[in-house]
Amino acid sequence: MTTEVVDMITVVVDGFEVTVPKGTLVIRAAEKLGIQIPRFCDHPLLDPVGACRQCLVDIEINGRAFPKPQASCTIPVEPGMIVKTQLTSQVAEKAQRGVMELLLINHPLDCPVCDKGGECPLQNQAMSNGQGESRFEGVKRRFQKPINISSQVLLDRERCVLCARCTRFSAQIASDPFITLNERGALQQVGIYENKPFESYFSGNVVQICPVGALTGASYRFRARPFDLVSTTSACEHCASGCDMRTDVRRGKTLRRLAGDDASVNEEWNCDKGRWAFKYVTSLDRLTTPLVRNSSGELVAASWPEALAAAAKGLKAAKAAVLVGGRATHEDAYGYSKFARVALGTNDIDFRSRLSSDEEREFLAAHVAGSSTTYTDIDRADQVLLVGFEPEEESPIVFLRLNKQVRKRALKVTAIATKLSIGVEKLKGEFVKVAPGQESAAIAAQSLTAKSVILVGERAAESAGVLSAVAALADSSSAKIAWIPRRAGERGALEAGAIGNLLPGGRPVTDAAARVDIAAVWNTDSLPSEIGKSTQEIYAAVNAGEIGALLVGGVDPLDGDNSQAALAALEKAFVVSLEIATSAVTQRADVVLPVAAITEKSGSFLNWEGRARSFDAAVHDSLNRSDLRILSMIAEEMGSTVNLATVTSAIKEIASLGKWEGARASLTKVAAASQSAVNGDQFILTSWRRLLDLGTLQQGEENLAGTARKTVAVISPKRAEAMGVVDGDQLKISTSLGSVTLSALVEDIHDDAIWAPRNSRGSQLLVNLGVAHGAVVTVVKA
């Protein structure tokens, strides 16, 4: 940490001296003394605006007093300043009471039906700093209420006190200025542009920061009162950003989630997916009892001892491998990792249930496991390079952090991508246009410094040579690398060694010293020493008859390429599935064991920084067990000891492993593939997942799905002209497997490329086309 030298200024507030850095606002200096000045528009993360006038105080500088009370949220401290708040100045107190009375003139007293009732700053401050009686006898302003400013945010205009927190958030933090203050005077109101709904990925934050009940969430509307809710601090399970969250539960049911306050990670924000996509826990077809396939081939309910015995027997009978999805917690992933090595005696384990490569595995071992690039590095970077990574769609809080720095100090962002995205446009980033698969040359051409940060997404693995080029660039420039996967559990799974080439803590399986380290803690004689198979290799080995049993936890077989092979392998092998709900895996499994969903268990995720984001069970009366516990039970049944009955025991064991000081695995350089030739109606397909799409964890939340971006196929102006296509025309994209038809959007994209969302409504590329990136597809006007 470098300490920046700042001037300190001493001021007097209500007779007490306080020393604060230069530039601190008076309201904040008072806070430091524990003096609460009432406020509505003031928010520490938004620019001061002085809109509500509630924070009026008496200020005097070096003996010269301001003639009238001043808004303490807009005035920075100055030497010799004497501030008198409502506690010591009658003038300030009267001014605040007057402002409150004026604010309440048009505010309806509908607190009984308002969602904010009970946790409302206006309600609270009207009690603490208002006067109880109003002198206003006229008729209050009425508006039609409520209006949907998007499918998930409702606006009651008559409750608004015009603090402009929502409009400032949208403009300054999210850079989605879709809402604004319209009209003037008494009719001033928050509004959206005509025909342009508030389609921001961060719209939920305005609901949280609204100091009155003017903006409310459609899903939580009229559901509960604050005193009904039991709040638990939790971590978001949706992406690798690692947001701190608060989960509010009423009678065992999650009713809402709010962004927590963690200045080093998500500040006070989160994205709409994290905020609203939680109903999957109850709306999916949850498993309640273990299921075992009987002799006639049907899955029937079974008791736990019966199911565990069947699972153990099947896993023991044949050579087995482990597939754990990227959504397992760090502790659960550690359980799978240990189970594979101790109970199954194999390194055939992979957490990457998506498009992946061996180059990626080596890259992760060499440059990611144990690394510690953080949000602070982004804050201090002189340049940020995005490779195979679309921050707004794949890790929204990283986007907010980049946006903050772009706004604050014009941070240079360079995106090497096939298509200019909305997010990069908002970041005013330099767009380096490449053909799908040809990113390597563009990466090599970049010049970075030791203060630069390279943000690499999981999609970098989809083009050969990209990760090698990133590693080479980092080596030559000393820039920091951060790998940002899309799923919350991938970094944790990597550190837990749920991958074929690594043991926990980034220890290479090929390193004898590393194996001795782990074997000592795990109390076994030896650990397998050859590098294990990857997800695709495991499926292939099952289909070739080399592997007979699979332990699968939280995997969607349709997330990878060649999903037909995956499904065939699941049919063929003896499959033990640990799942929360019925899925393509459980339908083909021989033993299905129900596990606890995120809200029902404790644990932690490691976000992309490698920072542990731990959470407690929000729902306490669930009988579901964590993966870890079940793995321990199966291992016991098999006669080996995993012995991780609780999350606490796993945390202790992980801590006891200590850091790996030995050599890291190295990355063998992979050359880029040559560009596929396209002719006539051929294109090279490129895609990424959007934040709001058909993801399993977004099921059951229709309001959220309503703000998903439109499904389009993007082609370049030149090709569009050649094909005679304009915006809105239907394009049919086809491969030998199938086709999708999408409406066209002509945008800045490489001439050879066509972009479509990977898993959105009407465009499930992996399922419909069998490919998602780099493959040649045929496109015709439909």
Binding site: P112, V113, G117, P146, F227, D228
Partner: protein
């Protein structure tokens, strides 16, 4: 205190050491003395009796007796309860459970946007203090004089919304039905709606 106290000397007292004393009895009360004892019940025979033949006969309670709750209706039959949970908030015994919900065009249960979807009062917990009545912003919740609240199971003593709702009276329609034409929720609270309008009958 400075002076030293003498330790108590151990004194054993045997039961046999306690002297037996014969109680002295008074003189005989005589015949009139016995009859005097019957005078009190005899004199009550001619006074008005307070006992009632409950349950055949039920004595009326005081007018403001705190009995079972009732969820009232507007004169057109719409429910007054808006599901705001203020009653549950006020309840010192945690006896009330409320869940609010959205009134929709096809399912208008109360005037305005919000209605009480679930409303339960647990009479095993209720202490009949009446704070819920004071808290109710729409006068939806009041108390009746009904006091016969005994039953043979715990679940039967958790009263649901159907058990608490007031019966439909003259001019009322069973919700859900639309609000009175050209009236909004504030008209309902001001008492402008006197009875159901024919157009409200959706049947």
């Amino acid at each position: 205190m400075s002076e030293q106290l003498e330790p108590l000397k151990k004194k054993e007292i045997s039961v046999n050491d306690v002297p037996f004393v014969q109680m002295e009895t008074g003189e005989s009360v005589g015949l009139f003395g016995h009859l005097k004892g019957f005078w009190v019940p005899f004199s009550k025979i001619f006074k008005k009796t307070l006992t009632v033949e409950y349950p055949e006969v039920k004595a009326p309670t005081q007018e403001r007796f705190h009995g079972r709750h009732q969820l009232n209706r507007h004169p057109d039959g719409l429910e007054k309860c808006i599901g705001c949970e203020l009653c549950a908030w006020a309840c010192p015994a945690d006896a009330i459970y409320v869940e609010g919900a959205n009134n929709t065009k096809d399912n208008q249960m109360s005037p305005g946007e919000r209605y009480g979807k679930v409303y339960q009062i647990n009479y095993l917990r209720c202490v009949f203090c009446g704070l819920c009545i004071e808290a109710c912003p729409t006068r939806a919740l009041t108390m009746t004089n009904e006091y016969e609240l005994a039953d043979d199971s715990r679940t039967k003593l958790i009263f649901e919304k159907e058990d608490l709702l007031a019966p439909l009276r003259q001019g009322m329609l069973m919700p859900p039905h639309p609000m009175y034409p050209d009236m909004d929720d504030s008209n309902y609270y001001k008492g402008d709606v006197k009875e159901a309008h024919p157009s409200q009958d959706v049947k």
